[in-house]
């Protein structure tokens, strides 16, 4: 049986905020055949199982599932076709993908492809946490789906590993499932969420926060019976629990990008993109958490809007900006996205740092020339830092890489 082929104008892979926003914009701009694939049974991406607020806008706040529905509806209303339960398996050409779903196997050819495949949390094994392999070990993504989408039982006493925003969301989900959060554990000296949220967890929910602390072992045969943690000063203690949630530490789900041999950025591990979200392959674009693991749904949505504009230009025959230079970060910065720059790129950049610093100086340098310098109020790991793009007009497209440094005190 030969595989049927379908022709579309734009193929978007991933119906999360970035993919749906891009599809809605493209369809609204008059692109006739915009196809969005999602391997999950329902569109919306991660917000589908973030049953908490903080989505939408100040004037129109929404929960994650409501936000997912809103984006889905907007894309469909604009004329995009959203096909769920359909998996993009591999490339079948520079701008073609093999797909499968209950309706069968297909090759989809497009004039432009947008990868919006998102990111996932590193599971316990990828973090090389020693110990046995008992049941009761989760990532936030799995926990939220288990509790909010399937109503599954998760145990009674949970330790949450991490103290960033997603960790507090995981703790809320544990409580929503009727279980107790025994402790939150972070290797950093402070919580990395907002002060309000950290205080609420500690004072109202009485959840101890163990700072400067590492999980050194999982214990138990069959079901988790506890986790061993060690403080930076060498003290070690065993926390009795039947559930542990590993939160944060996101990596892009970059399989298609990698199988397509797109150039990857060593910092984000997602595809390298310039300010217009072009990847290294003409006609292939990327957006959302695949590019910056992981930012808010709002940021992903803005990416979708931005990538739609770039795709429209490309379909209209615009030349790709040929002269981009790499945008590199130096420790303690972990990554920056986008990570290639052309003179005049206008959108802001997102960065992450691995070290806590107060009033650090952020500097952008090319070949010894300082293009930009600013003092930040603070830099906290696992929280977004932004860099505006005013300096990009100073970039020499024939020069060396542009380097971004953060000098703390």
């Amino acid at each position: 049986m030969t595989r049927p082929t379908r022709e579309v104008d734009v193929l978007v892979v991933g119906a999360g905020p970035a993919g749906l926003a891009a599809a809605a914009r493209l369809a609204a701009a008059g692109i006739a055949r915009v196809d969005v694939l999602d391997r999950e049974q329902h569109a919306g991406g991660v917000p589908r199982h973030c049953r908490h607020g903080g989505f939408g806008t100040w004037t129109h706040p929404l929960t994650g599932p409501a936000y997912a529905r809103l984006l889905h509806t907007a894309a469909v209303r604009a004329g995009a076709v959203v096909r769920t339960g359909t998996t993009a398996l591999d490339w079948a050409g520079p701008l073609a993908l093999d797909t499968v779903g209950p309706q069968g196997l297909e090759t989809v050819r497009a004039r432009a492809v947008v990868l919006a495949t998102g990111a996932r949390e590193r599971p316990r094994a990828a973090r090389l946490v020693p110990g046995t392999r008992p049941d009761g070990v989760y990532t936030t993504g799995e926990l939220q789906q288990a509790v909010h989408l399937y109503g599954q039982r998760i145990g009674t006493r949970a330790v949450v590993v991490g103290a960033e925003s997603v960790s507090y969301a995981a703790a809320d989900t544990v409580r929503a499932a009727g279980a107790q959060v025994v402790a939150m554990v972070t290797e950093l000296p402070v919580s990395q969420t907002t002060a309000v949220r950290a205080h609420d967890a500690r004072l109202r929910h009485r959840v101890p926060l163990l700072t400067d602390t590492t999980v050194t072992e999982l214990l138990g045969h069959g079901r988790l019976s506890g986790v061993r943690v060690r403080h930076r000063d060498g003290r070690s203690v065993q926390l009795a629990c039947d559930t542990v949630v590993f939160t944060g530490d996101f990596v892009p789900d970059h399989e298609l990008a990698r199988r397509g041999r797109l150039e990857l950025d060593p910092g984000t591990r997602g595809p390298a993109v310039d300010g217009a979200l072009h990847t290294s392959r003409p006609g292939v674009f990327a957006a959302g958490s695949l590019l910056h693991p992981v930012e808010s749904a709002a940021t992903a949505t803005r990416d979708g809007v931005r990538v739609a504009a770039a795709v429209l230009e490309s379909l209209a025959g615009a030349e790709r900006p040929r002269h981009t230079v790499p945008l590199l970060v130096e420790p303690p910065l972990r990554w920056i996205a986008p990570n290639r720059v052309a003179p005049g790129d206008g959108h802001p950049y997102v960065l992450r740092t691995s070290a806590l610093s107060k009033r650090p100086v952020l500097q952008v340098v090319q070949d010894g020339r300082v293009l930009h310098e600013e003092r930040l109020r603070a830099a906290v790991p696992n929280r977004t830092l932004t860099l505006t793009a005013g300096w990009t007009r100073l970039v020499d497209p024939a020069g060396g890489p542009v380097r971004v440094t953060l000098t703390g005190r």
């Binding site: 049986m1 595989r3 391997r39 999950e40 339960g85 998996t87 398996l89 499968v100 779903g101 209950p102 309706q103 069968g104 196997l105 996932r120 949390e121 590193r122 599971p123 316990r124 094994a125 990828a126 090389l128 020693p130 110990g131 046995t132 392999r133 049941d135 989760y138 990532t139 993504g141 799995e142 789906q145 288990a146 989408l149 399937y150 599954q152 050194t216 072992e217 999982l218 045969h221 990596v251 789900d253 399989e255 990698r258 199988r259």
Partner: protein, 467 residues
């Protein structure tokens, strides 16, 4: 077809009971199933087959080139390898004949290579070849710098250990063997020509007994008054790397064994991952299947030398297995005719390869003890779902998806597991009892996300099946 999980064991007497449903016990039960006249029980302590050493090893189908020449192990590995390769081909067990390279990193190791080639000849394996660094790096461009040469062993293969054990068990059960799970044996009494096994599910009577209890073979042996050997669990920790790292190697990269230890290997798996390990730690706790910070650090250190690019790849899983090591460098297969009892002990890492030959050897010992097996029959072939990366999964087969759309509906995305395959596994002859069992049958939740995307959905399907 009988697989029991709870309730009292049958009251009648069996002709043969095999204790231990690992790869060896299942192979023996399958061999005995060829005799329709025999009533055979396969008794397992845990809730699934292949839950001990059989599920946590390096999954290599050995040629036996480096066995102790003249040993029973050498002979059974040699025979078993040929038979398992053929059986795998007809049964849908994933096998890849990738070949092995024993890489020498120093002069001592390089000097050992010709001796290993000679040893291979004494084990009737003549296809080894010494290769120079130039060819070695041509074959393995990602190999770390400084290798001085290698011994090429083209016959070494990789195999799916889970499907192998399960295929044996499936065939055995379909041909009348009673598989009794959750039945750890706590005592054995032998009188009036009958063994009475005390298990957690009551007593089981049998006229002949085969001890294939793996790590616990010495304990069971002691119940029958034998102190021939002691099993010392030798822990091997392994790291499984992401499938996207698969192209970094083309062979099994074996260490050269020297007086200072065995070293670790890097090997592809049939599922398309890379495996780094194992450590070798002699322990006294037969439940110590955990990984340790020290073990993982040691593996990463070795991995950095063998294949530097490996450490930049994502880790998919970490596991540890316990080898049933004894005081001797050979299998401990002993017939005790006075008790109508056969001990199958000390089956180490080669047990998977040798399993079919061990089964023939053990049934011959039973016959020598006066078991009249009656007429033999050919077994109905079994077709297991092939979990190999080089074998297209059902969702890649347009015909299958068209005939049954459930095969086009993927649940576990990292491993490409469809609802149809999960449904089939849940309805199989020896069904999974928990999510780990489902993982070993389908690879659901075995991929890079470890359940981030699919965990809850897979659990829903499993629990919805009334499991």
């Amino acid at each position: 077809m009988t697989v029991t999980l709870n309730g009292p064991l049958p009251s009648g007497s069996y002709d043969v009971a095999v204790v231990g449903a690992g790869v060896v016990g299942c192979a023996i039960a399958r061999e005995l199933a060829r005799r329709p006249r025999l009533r055979v029980a396969l008794v397992e302590a845990q809730d699934d087959v292949g839950q001990g050493t059989s599920k946590a090893n390096t999954a290599i189908l050995h040629t036996g080139f480096d066995a102790v020449p003249g040993s029973l192990e050498a002979r059974l590995v040699r025979e078993g390898a040929r038979r398992l390769a053929a059986y795998a081909g007809e049964s849908g067990i994933a096998v890849e004949p990738v070949g092995a390279l024993l890489v020498a990193w120093d002069e001592e190791q390089r000097a050992a290579l010709p001796h290993l080639a000679e040893k291979a000849v004494r084990n009737e394996y003549r296809a080894t070849r010494l290769i120079e660094p130039a060819e070695l790096y041509e074959r393995e461009p990602h190999l770390g710098p400084g290798a001085l040469g290698a011994l090429h062993v083209p016959g070494e293969s990789i195999v799916c250990p889970w499907t192998t054990t399960l295929a044996y068990a499936t065939q055995a059960v379909r041909h009348g063997v009673d598989l009794h799970l959750n039945s750890p044996v706590s005592d054995v009494n032998w009188h009036d020509g009958e063994h009475v096994l005390s298990t957690a599910r009551g007593t089981l009577r049998t006229r002949r007994l085969v001890n294939a209890a793996g790590l616990h073979a010495d304990t069971l042996d002691r119940h029958l008054g034998h102190r021939d050997f002691t099993v010392t669990p030798r822990r091997g920790q392994l790291i499984v790397f992401d499938k996207l790292a698969r192209d970094l190697v083309h062979h099994i990269l074996l260490p050269v064994p020297t007086a200072r230890g065995k070293g670790v290997l890097v090997t592809p798996t049939v599922y398309g991952n890379l495996l780094l390990g194992p450590t070798a730690e002699d322990l006294d706790d037969k439940r110590a299947t955990g990984s340790t910070a020290e073990g993982l650090a040691l593996l990463r250190e070795s991995g950095a030398r063998i294949l530097p690019a490996l450490l930049d790849e994502e880790v998919t899983a970490v596991y540890a297995g316990l080898r049933a090591a004894t005081e001797q460098d050979d299998y401990r297969i002993t017939a005790h005719p006075e008790q109508a009892y056969v001990t199958v002990g000390g089956i180490r890492s080669t047990g998977l390869t040798a399993s079919l030959a061990i089964a023939s050897h053990v049934t011959a010992l039973l016959a020598d003890m006066g078991l009249d097996p009656g007429p033999a029959r050919d077994l109905e072939p079994v077709r297991m779902p092939n979990l190999g990366e080089t074998h297209p999964r059902p969702h890649r087969n347009a015909r299958r998806v068209a005939a049954d759309p459930e095969y086009g509906s993927l649940v576990c995305h990292c491993e490409g597991v469809s609802r149809g395959e999960i449904r089939d596994a849940l309805a199989s002859t020896v069904p999974p009892r928990n999510l780990d069992g489902l993982r070993r049958r389908t690879r659901a939740r075995a991929g890079r996300c470890q359940g981030f995307y699919c965990g809850a959905a897979v659990r829903e399907l499993f629990e919805g099946a009334g499991a």
